[in-house]
Amino acid sequence: MKEEARYIFSKGDLSRKDFSIQFKNEKGNMYLPIKDTKELYCFNEITLSTKLLELLSKAGIIVHFFGYYENYIGTFYPKDYLLSGRLTVAQAQVYAEKRMEIANAIICGIANNIHFVLYHYYRHGKKDLKPFLDWLKHDVGRLGSSANNIKQLLSIEGEIWARFYASFKFILPEEFIMNKRVKRPPDNPINALVSFGNSLLYSKTVSQIYHTHLNQTISFLHEPTERRFSLSLDLCEAFKPIIVFKTIFECINNRKISAAKHFDKKLNYAMLNEAGKKIFIDAFETRINQTFEHPVLKRRITYKQAIRLDAYKLIKFIMEGKPFKPFNAEENL
C-alpha cells in the first residue's frame, strides 16, 4: 500500500533537499519522497523552512500540526487549487436558505451510524442498549425534522452524544467508562482517546475537502465562525462512530491499549504516551484505509474516500439540488 500519511513523532527540522522532503533529528537524516506523501502529521516541535513550504505547496501536500497535549493546532494548507466561483456563491446561498436541511441530515447520519456500531454489541448480548437503540431509530429523525432552529438541532446532537457516551458502561471495561465528556484538556483515558481520535478524523476531513471545490469555511451544522475549517467539523460528524469509536472500541476490547501502559501517569492518564499514540494511529490508519464495495458505484473504496464522496454529495446538493444524505454504514457495509 502506498504510504500517504506520514507521522512525525520526534523533534526535528523539516527542509527541502532537491526534490524531496528531508527530516533531520538527533538520529540523523531521513528522506521522504514527495511521490507517495499526501499528508504530514507533526506531533512534536518541528521547525520548517519556506523553501520546504514551496515544495509542499506545489506538490499539494498538507501538513497538520498537533501540540504537546495532542491537541490540534492547525494545518498548512497549500493555496486552493480547485476553485469554482459559482460553487462558492451557491454554497453561501444554501447556507442562507437551506442550512437546517443539511444540518438535520448530518444529525440523522450520526444517529444512524451510532445505531450501526452499537447494534453489533446488542446482537452479542448487550440487551441494556435497547432503549437507546430504539430512541436513535425512531425518535431522532422526528425530533430533527420538527426543530425550528439550529440551537434546537444542536441540542439534539448533544443528547445523542451524551447518551452514546453513557452507553459505554455496557460495552467497555471499568477503567474506560466515561462519566462525563471533558475536552480541553481531557481528564481521563477515554476522554483522551476520544479527543485524539476526533482530531485525527477532523484533520483527515480537512485534507479530503481540500481535494474538492467546497469552501472550507462555510458550514451548516456548526457555526461558520467556530473554526477556520468549520465545514470539516460538519462532514466528519457522521464518520465519528464508524472510524473514531470503532477504532477506540477495538483497541480497548482487544487489549491493544490499556489504561496502565499507554497513558501518561504524570498527567493522571489524561494523555496517550508515545507508545499509545503509535498503536492508536496504526489502528486508525488501518481502519480509514479499509475498503468495501460501494453499492452504487460498484467500486471498492476506502472510508477515507467515503469522506470525499460525502463532500461530492454536498456539492451536488448545492449545485443540483439532489438531497444530501451522509454516509450510512448500514446501507454500505
Binding site: 506545489k58 469554482s84 460553487l87 458505484l297 470525499r308 464522496l309 451536488k316
Partner: protein, 161 residues
C-alpha cells in the same frame, strides 16, 4: 469564453462540458502525471506553454495544425475542437488546415483526418458555438446517464454517488 476543450466535451458528454465550464474540474488522480508536473514546474518556474489566447496547440507546421489523439473514438468531438482552433488562428491572420492524427493502441499506423475551413462548415460551426454558449448558461447541468464512457471519466464518482 469557449475553448477547444469545452467544444470537445460538448460532444463527448454535455454534463461533463457544463461541469468543466463551471470549474468543477476534478482532481487529477493520475499521480505520475501530477508529480511530473510538479518537478517540471519547480525546475523551470512557471513558464507558460506556447499558446495563442486560450488555444494550446499540439503542433503547427506551415500547412497544418496537428492534433494528436490516442484513438479515433469521439471523432466528431476532436474534429470540432480542431475546427475551433482553425477559426481562432484565422482571426489572427494565420491560415491553416487541420490534421487529426489518431494513434491506435498497439498499432503504429495513424489514421489521418483533414479538416478544412469552408464557408459551409464555418457557418455550421458558428451556429454550434452559439448553441454551446446557450447551453452553458443553464442553471444546472443535465442529469447523469450511465454509459460505458462514464467508467473512465474523472467525474464518475461525482456523477453517480
Amino acid at each position: 469564453m469557449l475553448t477547444g476543450t469545452i467544444v470537445n466535451y460538448y460532444f463527448h458528454c454535455k454534463r461533463q462540458c457544463w461541469l468543466f465550464y463551471n470549474k468543477l474540474n476534478m482532481e487529477d488522480n493520475s499521480e505520475d502525471v501530477h508529480i511530473g508536473r510538479v518537478l517540471h514546474e519547480l525546475k523551470l518556474g512557471d513558464s507558460p506553454d506556447a499558446a495563442i489566447e486560450n488555444v494550446k496547440l499540439d503542433k503547427i507546421t506551415p500547412e497544418y495544425v496537428i492534433e494528436m489523439k490516442k484513438s479515433d473514438a469521439d471523432l466528431e468531438a476532436a474534429k470540432a475542437q480542431l475546427m475551433f482552433y482553425l477559426l481562432k488562428l484565422e482571426s489572427k491572420g494565420i491560415m491553416r488546415k487541420g490534421r487529426l492524427e489518431c494513434i491506435e493502441k498497439n498499432k503504429q499506423d495513424k489514421k489521418v483526418h483533414i479538416v478544412e475551413l469552408t464557408d459551409e462548415n464555418r457557418q455550421k460551426f458558428e451556429l454550434l458555438c452559439r448553441e454551446i454558449e446557450n447551453f452553458l448558461t443553464s442553471p444546472t447541468p443535465p442529469a447523469a446517464i450511465k454509459e460505458n464512457k462514464c467508467k473512465k471519466c474523472a467525474y464518475y464518482e461525482y456523477c453517480f454517488v
